[in-house]
């Protein structure tokens, strides 16, 4: 057991239903979340990320496996006995209580002295800048304000870990951006471990210290934003985060050979295997046709995005590849559909990924 871990899940399985209809929402997931970090569980809906969060909160019991908090086994502890609080996707604010009463709820349930409840509540109201709203009913607040009440309410009892279940999904784009910064600020100020669940890759990349990518009930990869973006372990991670080109190739000494006969430089492979080579559109450079070592291609489509242009090209065997070109401040790059040219990659850009 690593003393640096706030939360640890060991071989957790959560099955719903019986017999043939049984679905494994979590299929043998193990993860270690360190103290004081902003950890994000990222994945498409139904990948099991919320289930894992609910196991940590204690709302569900695992079918098998263990959940540890600060090294203590809490697998079967009821939620009210876990020093962990949750910010719900729907906020779940108590409609019959005021903003201040909502924030004070957890402290009162812990039987804190009245003076402490009052001072902590005021501190929390200040932290989320809602002092003026203390006496309002929660139904009178805007979505963003409700969100902040939910945050203050969950932070007030000073949990060891704060769990956030897609808390920004109900907000509009502008508010979401503001709240991303706000959340990061709160995490830094309080020093509490945040476990954040989202399906939005941008949210995950901008806020997290580390990200766990999930799919089909399994944890696919854990790492920093940069790790995951630049070194995806498999095809799912590569395609879910950012845009990626995939090419099928056969490995040989010094690289991987495409069906077109061209060779791409990839490191650390055993020769003679069929593999998938992945590379990001922005790692493709377009060079003039015939340049030595470059892969010949023809432009099939050009899509203008403002800051950059996506250039779709077809290799000689028809395989499509997308290249992202940053637009120059003046004029255009002089590309046209039908033009023939060649592709080149930055060193180390292309890599072999598992399917």
């Amino acid at each position: 057991m690593n003393a640096q871990n706030a939360v640890e899940a060991r071989n957790t399985v959560k099955a719903f239903g019986q017999g043939d209809a049984q679905v494994r929402a979590l299929n043998d997931v193990s993860v270690e979340i360190r103290k004081g970090e902003f950890f994000t569980l990222l994945g498409p809906s139904g990948c099991g990320k919320t289930t894992l969060l609910r196991l940590i909160a204690g709302f569900e019991m695992p079918t098998s496996g263990t959940i540890l908090l600060d090294g203590q086994d809490i697998t079967y502890l009821p939620p009210n006995k876990r020093p962990v609080n949750t910010v719900f996707q729907s906020y779940a604010l108590f409609p019959h209580l005021t903003v201040a009463q909502n924030i004070a709820f957890g402290l009162q349930m812990l039987d804190k002295p009245a003076a402490e409840v009052k001072s902590t509540t005021e501190k929390m109201l200040a932290l989320v800048k809602l002092e003026a709203m203390a006496g309002r009913k929660t139904s009178q607040l805007s979505g963003g304000q409700q969100q902040r009440v939910a945050l203050a309410r969950a932070l007030a009892p000073q949990p060891k870990v704060l769990l956030l279940d897609e808390p920004l999904s109900a907000l509009d784009l502008k508010l979401r951006k503001e709240m991303q910064i706000e959340l990061k600020r709160l995490q830094t100020e309080t020093g509490i471990t945040f476990v954040f669940v989202t399906h939005d890759q941008e949210e995950a990349l901008t806020m997290s210290d580390r990200i766990g990518v999930m799919s089909a009930g399994k944890l696919q990869q854990v790492g920093t934003a940069k790790d995951i973006y630049t070194r995806p372990v498999n095809r799912f991670v590569a395609s879910f985060i950012g845009e990626t080109n995939f090419l099928t190739a056969t490995t040989e000494a010094g690289g991987a050979r495409l069906a077109t006969g061209d060779l791409i430089e990839v490191a650390g492979t055993t020769p003679g295997q069929r593999v998938t080579v992945a590379f990001r559109p922005e790692q493709v450079r377009l060079v003039t046709a015939g340049e030595a070592g470059a892969i010949p291609a023809t432009i099939t489509n050009l899509v203008y995005f403002g800051t950059d242009t996506h250039c779709h090209v077809a290799l000689n065997d028809g395989t499509e590849v997308v290249a992202r070109l940053q637009n120059p401040s003046t004029g255009d790059a002089g590309l046209a559909i039908g033009q023939t040219l060649a592709l080149r990659f930055a060193p180390g850009a292309a890599q072999v990924v598992e399917d």
Binding site: A57, G58, F59, P78, P79, T86, S90, P95, M109, A154
Partner: protein
Amino acid sequence: MSDRAFQVSRLPGFATIAIGVFLALYIPIFTLAAYSFNTNISMSSWGGFSLDWYVKAWNNDQVKDATLRSLIIALWAAVISTAVATLAALGTTRRKAFKGQTFIYVIINQPLMVPEIVTAVALLIFFAQIKVITGYQGLGYLILAHSAFCVPFAYLPIRARLEGMDLSLETAAADLYATPWRTFRHVTLPLLLPGVIAGAMLAFVISLDDVVITEFVKSGGQDTLPTYMLGQLRRQMTPEINAISTALLVLTIALLTAFFLINRQNDKN
């Protein structure tokens, strides 16, 4: 303009029939109320306005007894049926379907399905035996019978309220260190209260209205207001009955209006 426009939802003659229905529903009730202010006893002609029949009903000891008895029974029945219905609603909603759930539903809703006369006969037979065995003749039989048939009426609004309640609120309370009991006390119950009040009010009205079961279950001298009225109808009908009916009508409408307004308030929230 809009009259001429072709409105898809308009069907010819429907509005006329509907207005006719509303008139047909209310004219008899207003006639009944109007006669309660008639000075004449014969009820065939209008002799002028008076409150004599209300005074007469008020001073009639039998009416007073029956009214008091009706209120006592309705109050007990409302309290008992609402209490057990609240528990049952908590037990049967918001959890995974389980074996026996349908059985519980059928039993709870049984009074809505079995004809009243059949239940009345069944209780007559059953209580007759119990009376012989225990010698007890009191109001308990009526209170028990009323509590039983009021259960579904109390149960339905409470259950509806529970089903409309956001489950994550209780999860949130548990997450914030509330024990199951304190979750119930501080979150579930306050949110459920409008449903409980609505259920209790419906149960009260239903108990107050009952004729058939009361008629069969009551022992001698245990008339409620409706059974007293039924007895009077057999004899000579006087506007006194109209006066009692009108008073009861006003009470029912007041309770229903309150129920309607509470519901509307809830919908707004």
